[in-house]
């Protein structure tokens, strides 16, 4: 796996995580955001998901599914990173263990 391909995988996963968060904001039951804001969030979510989907298809065209899918686990790493960056969340011990395991597993798969 070249660096470029790895960036593409990461890009696809990041878009999918972003899309999920936008969807959540658009559909949350108890939220104060206005209807127009919700529509905007929904649109952004769909856009992010679409970009992620086409990148993923392009990647699937070139690689085995069993090779690509484990990298999907990196979405948790991105989520934790975003929470740390945006929410200033503390990293718990379980989180560290999990993140290291996911990265380790992804490296194993990348080398296979």
């Amino acid at each position: 796996m070249t660096f470029f391909i790895f960036c593409l995988v990461l890009f696809s996963i990041a878009c999918s995580v972003t899309g999920q968060i936008f969807f959540k904001h658009a559909m949350a039951e108890h939220s104060k955001s206005s209807a127009s804001r919700r529509k905007l969030d929904l649109g952004r979510g769909v856009l992010a998901m679409t970009v992620s989907f086409f990148t993923w298809l392009a990647l699937l065209h070139k690689f085995d599914l069993s090779y690509l899918y484990p990298f999907e686990g990196l979405d948790r790493v991105l989520l934790a990173f975003a929470a740390w960056l945006i929410l200033k969340e503390k990293m718990s011990r379980d989180l560290w263990i999990g993140l290291i395991l996911i990265c380790l597993g992804a490296m194993f798969v990348a080398g296979s």
Binding site: W56, A83, L99, L101, I102, C103, G105, V109, S112
Partner: protein, 160 residues
Amino acid sequence: MKFGLKSAMSNAAGKQNKSDKILTDTVKGDQGSRKSRFFHPYLQLLISIILAAASQIFLKIGVDTQFVSPWYTASNFFSFWIWSGIFSTIGSLFSWLYALKSVPLIVAYNLAAMNHIMVALGSWLFLGEAISYQRWIGILVVALGVLFVARPAARAEEKL
């Protein structure tokens, strides 16, 4: 001893009665109860996980068999397998959101670790991909890691 046996027997009889009742209830069960069983949150969660894994496999089949080289070729937009994949993804998303109304996020996130195992098994069984030992180990390690981060990831997701 005898007493014990007797009470056990009566207990069993009681259970028998109870199970009979459940059985008749099931038989009698109207549309409503069958519907409610289908909408059981954990069943929906299971459906969501299976659909998510299936959608990946459909997409891979579609890309492998029905994809023509320049991506904007018209037939690419009518590929049966790719559309199956898209609809499975949407179905999976909806049953996931439905299940999350009553299943705690942490349980759902723990179960989502199964996705990695199921996609690997699926691509081995249905796509005939050769998965080396190293790749299996990597997949299992990733799944284990996903289990570990379930709680913090669920918390982060709630807040973001």
